[in-house]
């Protein structure tokens, strides 16, 4: 964009402005650092799926089939995906906004409950015309949640009370309080077998959007993404919040009242969570039910960290989580893999996202191995084969443990075998690490693995006697690799000595 274009943009009004904004967005997307971020995220997901398939193997499920149905479930039911994403976008934004100001809002769950309770009360106690009613409910929900976040914000700013403790405690408070309010002893109980409020008036409900469960809350959530993005990047308040979050000393120096900003940030964060709760009550449940939230506030933390605390990242992460949920349901229903597998996959994705350097490490070392293969194919090949063997040892070690599950009774031999398998699996990981990073002292690991496999084989013969052959074959294989490694080492040493002479 050159200068003349810029001044044109200033002259002509909103249309140009939007175009500028889109151009800016395009620039951002093509930015190498964003691209890198994208590749990291993508690689994290792939790695997480690989490790997850390992765990599914241990647990005795078919990972291929599971992933196929995970994908089918996610892609065939986009409405469901977005439906699950709708509240997560808001709770994710809530946590992310607090993070932007250097605060860890671990109590989004409580703000969600308080917000939803307030919205529900507004929804069934007060009659208002259509359109106004839902807006009023959302507003009151956001305000209630906001207050629930504002209090810890104040305590943090003016009393130094750690927000992790206060928001968490207020979260439990909120869940118990709302639970009591709708219990048979509370004032808002509907008189049924279930602790809940009477249904919201029809005027207060969010109309459905697409499919059978997706409601207009989605639009609201996406507006919130725009709004938070605008707040963070285009307003003075957002600027000040980010400054406080990144460097409170510099913010103070720059005349920014960090206490005020902390309190406001927590309030806004709570408001977003409250909005998430209201939306769910008005769009899905139609009434406040005690303990209704399946941990949306907690998931908000994960969504925020996965989205790198940026509004658009949160949107993407929430949709990804929604996809996992929807796909996970199908996977569970069709393949029978427990729904907890989704939690495992999520956990692993987040772990890999936490440390992009793991991926760097894998890629860099792989690169050096492949590159040096051109110059001298022998040694790198050994490294490559050994690394792969390390992974194989890991998988086989873990897989062998499963063979012990089915054994009828406990014997010390079997326990010892299990222990050897565990050790060998750990060794497998270490072999991979050592050879992949081409450490010079790698050889002994192979020898140790060979010894362990031999022990495992012997134990198997004494004990259950099922898979001894595999163990012995692996023992021989590892031993040969160790020999090859030693041999090369010997050769290289003599070669060096020759050079010196």
């Amino acid at each position: 964009m050159n200068a003349s274009e810029l001044s044109d943009a200033q002259k002509s009004g909103i249309g140009q402005r939007i175009e500028n904004w889109i151009l800016g967005l395009a620039k951002k997307v093509t930015d190498p650092s964003y691209r890198k971020q994208f590749i990291w995220s993508f690689a994290s997901i792939v790695l997480a799926l690989l490790v997850s398939s390992l765990i599914m193997l241990i647990a005795g499920y078919d990972p291929g089939l599971a992933y196929v149905y995970l994908a089918i479930g996610a892609f065939s039911r986009m409405d469901l995906v977005l439906y699950y994403a709708t509240p997560l976008i808001l709770t994710g934004l809530s946590v992310a906004l607090a993070f932007k100001c250097g605060l860890f809002n671990i109590g989004a769950e409580g703000q969600l409950y308080i917000g939803s309770m307030a919205a529900a009360l507004m929804g069934y106690l007060i009659a208002l015309p259509i359109v106004i009613h839902p807006l009023a409910c959302l507003a009151i929900g956001a305000i209630a949640g906001g207050l629930w976040g504002f209090v810890p914000g104040l305590l943090k700013a003016y009393r130094g009370a750690h927000e992790v403790v206060t928001t968490m405690m207020l979260s439990y408070t909120a869940i118990l309080l709302t639970g009591w309010l709708v219990s048979s002893n509370g004032p808002f109980w509907d008189g049924s077998m279930v602790p809940r409020t009477p249904p919201l008036l029809d005027t207060a409900l969010l109309p459905p959007l697409w499919g059978y469960s997706l409601h207009t809350g989605l639009i609201l959530s996406i507006i919130a993404v725009f709004a938070v993005d605008f707040l963070i990047n285009r307003t003075v308040l957002g600027y000040e919040m980010r400054a406080v979050g990144l460097n409170p000393d510099a913010a103070e120096y720059g005349g920014i009242n960090s206490k005020r900003n902390i309190a406001i940030a927590m309030g806004l964060s709570g408001g977003l969570s409250g909005l998430a709760g209201s939306e769910e009550i008005m769009g899905t449940y139609g009434k406040f039910v005690a303990n209704w939230s399946p941990g949306l506030g907690w998931d908000g933390i994960t969504v925020a960290v996965l989205g790198n605390n940026s509004p658009w990242g949160v949107l993407a992460a929430a949709i990804f989580f929604g996809g996992l949920r929807a796909g996970g349901n199908t996977m569970h229903q069709v393949v029978g893999v427990p729904i907890e597998m989704v939690s495992v996959i999520q956990g692993l994705v987040v772990l890999f996202v936490a440390a992009p350097r793991i991926i760097n490490w894998l890629v860099d070392n792989g690169n050096t191995i492949f590159k040096s293969m051109k110059e001298d194919p022998f040694e790198p090949s050994i490294n490559l084969v050994s690394s792969i063997l390390g992974l194989a040892i890991l998988m086989l070690g873990l897989g062998m443990i499963t063979s012990l599950y089915s054994l009828p009774s406990f014997t010390w031999i079997n326990a010892a075998t299990a222990l050897v398998y565990v050790l060998v699996a750990i060794l497998g990981v270490m072999i991979f690490i050592v050879y992949w990073s081409k450490r010079p002292d790698a050889g002994w690991f192979m020898l140790l693995a060979a010894v362990l496999w031999t022990i495992a084989g012997v134990l198997e013969i004494i004990g259950a006697g099922m898979s001894a052959l595999t163990s012995f074959i692996l023992a021989i294989f590892t031993f040969v690799l160790w020999l090859a490694d030693r041999l090369i080492g010997r050769l290289l040493v003599t070669k060096k000595e020759d050079d010196i002479e």
Partner: protein, 358 residues
């Protein structure tokens, strides 16, 4: 750096696509297949493993499947918002050619979701455990309901007779009306056989926190209670732990009354090889297994009809556990309870179904 990352990404994509492709060619998992299942069950949140409610449904389905040679499938939603997805998934019978004969929703909180789906699939047969759905609007839904307070009254009566300290306790999972039904019947029953008996009621506040259940029971036992009725899902298992431990040092016997399924065996030292003695006095049997078994039977024999299937003492949907292998109750107690049971069935006495004291 970016290009290096690019290469890595491409390699990973190729490997992934190749793997997936190879897998697809080998197994061909796509495309509709014949439906091996007759029945689909959507369990309540919390899922299997409570050893009472959900597990009872599961056992009923297992029995039915063995008896009628059918197969069933099930899912365990993690949240209330998942119900509709699962029920609808079965109703649409994705990836199968034939529909399911019956879809069972377990738990009162599935009602809303079930009604939505049932309206969209009027030809699909549904059943819901523990909730009433109006058959005039939803003729394809059978509601399986229980008079839990009646069963609770029976075990309350036993407790009233068996207590040596004139003091009994109730540990509930949550302070909610459904659990009040259990508590009400229990306290009423105890008062019926032992007027003026002392009682204590407490809630763990969680269905899964065994430690809370155990602590609470510890407190009740140390306060002089000798019989506790635990209606707290998995938290109730803590009550058994507590009874077993405290029984060793107590001068009078301590007892636990189980809930929903036969749970007396849980009071044995090793529940997997139950042998007397047990601290399980009896259990309030809410025969969800019978209910599920019967509704499957109805479907198999084509006698299914929508509407309320009420399970009461009279039709055996509720009962109390007698397990003479583990413990034999005195005949006088059995007689008294049977008398009460007859009276309730005959309608000469009425058991309250919500908290009437305090």
């Amino acid at each position: 750096m970016a290009s290096k990352g690019m290469i890595a990404a491409i390699v990973i994509v190729i490997i992934g696509v190749a793997g997936a492709g190879a897998y697809l060619i080998m197994f061909n998992p796509f495309g509709p297949q014949p439906n091996p299942y007759t029945v689909a069950i959507v369990f309540a949140t919390g899922g299997l493993g409570d050893k009472s409610f959900n597990d009872g449904c599961y056992n009923g389905a297992v029995e039915a499947s063995q008896e009628f040679g059918i197969q069933f499938t099930y899912s365990e939603p993690a949240a209330i918002t998942d119900y509709e997805g699962y029920i609808r998934g079965y109703a649409e019978h994705t990836q199968y050619i034939e529909p399911f004969d019956l879809i069972i929703s377990v738990g009162f909180d599935q009602a809303d979701a079930l009604m939505e789906v049932a309206a969209d699939f009027p030809d699909q047969k549904f059943a819901i455990v523990d909730m009433y759905i109006d058959p005039t609007n939803y003729s394809n839904v059978a509601s399986l309901l229980f008079n839990e307070h009646e069963g609770s009254a029976l075990v309350g009566a036993i407790a009233g007779l068996m207590t040596t300290t004139d003091s009994i306790g109730f540990v509930g999972g949550m302070d909610i009306p459904l659990i009040h039904k259990f508590a009400a019947g229990y306290v009423w029953g105890a008062n019926y056989t032992n007027p003026g008996i002392n009682y204590q009621v407490a809630y763990t506040g969680s269905w899964v926190d065994t430690a809370a259940g155990k602590s609470l029971a510890d407190g009740m036992y140390s306060a002089g209670v000798d019989i506790i009725f635990a209606a707290a899902g998995r938290s109730g298992l803590g009550v058994f732990d507590s009874a077993k431990e405290n029984n060793a040092t107590s001068s009078y016997p301590l007892w636990v009354i189980g809930v929903d399924s036969p749970q007396m065996y849980l009071g044995c030292a090793d529940p997997d090889n139950p042998e007397p003695p047990t601290v399980g006095l009896t259990s309030m049997l809410k025969r969800v297994d019978v209910a599920v078994h019967d509704i499957i039977e109805d479907v198999v024999e084509d006698t299914f009809s929508g509407g309320v299937n009420l399970f009461t003492l009279a039709n055996g949907g509720l009962d109390y556990e007698i397990n003479t292998d583990l413990l034999t109750l005195p005949t006088s107690v059995i007689n008294a309870v049977e008398d009460l049971k007859a009276a309730i069935i005959a309608g000469t006495v009425t058991v309250p179904d919500s908290i009437y004291w305090s």
